[in-house]
């Protein structure tokens, strides 16, 4: 069976979606368990794949038994092997962690919610694992469509925000599709490796250049890099918490992965980093993204909105690291895809727990939270420290690689931007700690109960806390095992020609 892991990762969640949908009509309680089983299987097989990759470098799977470039092939190497595990693990943990709040928010539509959930995960996993440029587009659309729907069911202005997301997302995806069209026009192929083998002969062609530019534009829109970030904050703020703690960690990071895949595999590094001016200007774009994201985050008054601006800044980290074009920078970017996904999951899960207990997540509601939800806030502290970049959390080490990449490339604007955003994060999070710690909670909430010391204790239920704790511990574990991850996996993911 292990031969079929690449298929199972995607197909099991897909098929389970039908069963979940059916179960939603018959017996709602089954939905969660089917979804959990499916995602557990794909997590298991993704780990299996990573082990296979560690053994024999690359795993290839031909769908329909047709060899590429005629058929569609999945190709797992070091780069997407590790990202795959991260994605699968995060989607599984989040599923378990949000069970209660899904039951609370979508009593009527649990079946539909979980169907969309697994379909979204299917799409994201597919994007990571596929080796075919067009197949990536289809999977991208699955992930996007389900994402729109999940966000659209949120609070307040969610439908409008989601509709704007639809517009921006569609433009992004269409640009990507157009870029693929130009690549096809130039090479006559859709398989990534095949394209890569043909391109070097026609690098100077302006069709290839156009394809490159258009693909990147599409990806930038999808990953909400600074000038194209407008859709993100509203969409993330109003979306239902169990959905956003899935979407926020995965969508943008996976888009960064796709960008790395295109720069390194499809357009080989010699082309991608061919012109110094281009890559430098992209790094500057990232710098602007970091600075603007951090500054805008300062001016926010509610937790989720603040976090979503931090996400925008974090995108800047990764894009900058990628475009530095040296080994340290790329290592940092790939490492940060994993760490940032984990820590975003952590903080958004806490936001979910808070919203599960409290009426809202504006800063006034956070008063006295350390008393009320000590465990959630404890996890929040870990996530915050990781985002600030304090050792030994994972965030520190990815930031370490990014900064040393910046120094190695002599790009001090990027270095300063990173330090600046860490300082801003200190301010952001300690402001929240102050509020949650010192302000007496003036708004006692329903179902607040006293513990034996007469304090109000009202943390989220155990089912939500345990996965959160796992994530929080995982952040530190990621930090401790940074060197293992880098030396065993990531350094092989970066082609040798990059020094």
């Amino acid at each position: 069976m292990s031969r079929h892991f690449p298929a199972l990762i995607i197909v099991i969640p897909l098929i389970s979606a039908f069963f979940i949908f059916a179960a939603g009509g018959l017996k709602k309680t089954y939905c969660f368990y089917i979804a959990a089983a499916a995602l557990a299987i794909s997590l298991f097989s993704s780990i299996g794949l990573l082990l296979q990759v560690l053994q024999n470098k690359v795993v290839v799977y031909h769908f329909g038994g047709w060899a590429p470039p005629w058929g569609i092939a999945y190709r797992i190497d070091y780069l997407n092997g590790i990202v795959l595990v991260a994605v699968a693990a995060i989607s599984f943990l989040n599923l378990v962690a949000t069970k209660k709040s899904v039951e609370k928010d979508f009593t009527e539509k649990i079946g539909l919610f979980y169907t969309l959930y697994v379909l979204f995960v299917t799409g994201i996993l597919g994007i990571v694992v596929t080796g075919d440029a067009f197949n990536l587009y289809v999977l991208l659309e699955i992930a996007s469509l389900t994402g729109y729907a999940l966000i659209g069911m949120g609070t307040e202005h969610a439908p409008l925000a989601s509709l704007n997301y639809v517009f921006m997302g569609t433009i992004g995806a269409s640009f990507y599709l157009l870029g693929i069209g130009y690549l096809y026009l130039a090479t006559g192929s859709l398989n990534m490796l095949d394209i890569a083998s043909i391109l070097p002969n026609i690098f100077q062609s302006n069709v290839v250049l156009l394809a490159f530019v258009i693909c990147l534009t599409g990806l930038f829109i999808k990953m909400a890099l600074f000038p194209m970030h407008a859709w993100l904050p509203n969409a993330y703020t109003y979306s239902p918490s169990p959905a956003i703690s899935l979407i926020a960690p995965l969508t943008t990071k996976v888009m960064v992965y796709v960008m790395i895949r295109f720069l390194l595999t499809v357009f080989t590094p010699s082309f991608s980093y061919g012109s110094m001016a281009v890559s430098t200007s992209f790094v500057w774009l990232a710098v602007i993204a970091i600075v603007v994201g951090s500054i805008l985050a300062l001016s926010q008054k509610s937790l989720k909105r603040m976090l979503s601006y931090i996400v925008i800044a974090e995108i800047g980290y990764m894009v900058g690291g990628v475009w530095l074009g040296n080994r340290a920078g790329l290592t940092g970017a790939i490492l940060h895809i994993i760490n940032d996904a984990a820590m975003t999951l952590c903080v958004f899960l806490v936001a979910g727990n808070i919203l599960y207990r409290l009426s809202g997540d504006s800063f006034d509601n956070l008063k006295g939270l350390f008393r009320k939800m000590p465990f959630s806030m404890g996890a929040f502290v870990v996530g915050a420290l990781s985002i600030i970049g304090v050792p030994p959390t994972g965030g520190f080490f990815s930031k370490w690689y990014l900064i040393s990449g910046g120094i190695a490339a002599g790009h001090y604007g990027f270095v300063i931007a990173l330090l600046f955003s860490s300082l801003v994060n200190v301010v952001l999070f300690f402001r929240i700690f102050e509020i949650a710690y010192f302000e007496p909670s003036d708004c006692p909430h329903i179902s607040d109960r006293m513990d034996e010391e007469g304090k109000i204790f009202n943390d989220a239920p155990l089912g939500m806390l345990v996965p959160l704790m796992i994530v929080a511990v995982g952040l530190i574990v990621l930090g401790i095992f940074t060197d293992t991850i880098v030396t065993k996996v990531i350094q092989f993911a970066i082609p040798g020609e990059i020094s």
Binding site: V138, L160, L163, I171, L178
Partner: protein
Amino acid sequence: MVDLLTIIISKYNYWGYIVLMMVGLYAMIVKKNLVKKIIGMSIFQTAIIFFYVSIGMKKNATIPIISHGHDGGERAVHAVDFINPLPHVLMLTAIVVSVATLGVALALAIKVYRQYNSLEEDVIDSLIKEK
């Protein structure tokens, strides 16, 4: 001047889809009515479909259907006689995707209308401002 003209003539498919695409973008950016934006979105996607299909075109070639079953395959099949099937396949997918997007977008538009009793962006914005 003439050769520029010939370029435009010989590559009119590109210009066609670019014009169509710009129309779509214009609608999505300028129009204030959400449904008009949605229409613009589908025009935008259609432009790309048009582009792909135009790639598949081959001069003096016929549709990619071989005129006899596999029992009587005596006449050899030459690639030049049939137009390129791949773009059509891809675009079947793309069409479906755009239909799906359209459906979701309309559903969201209905939700928006339910919430604000309007599809005009500026009206909705003013409503949001009031709160």
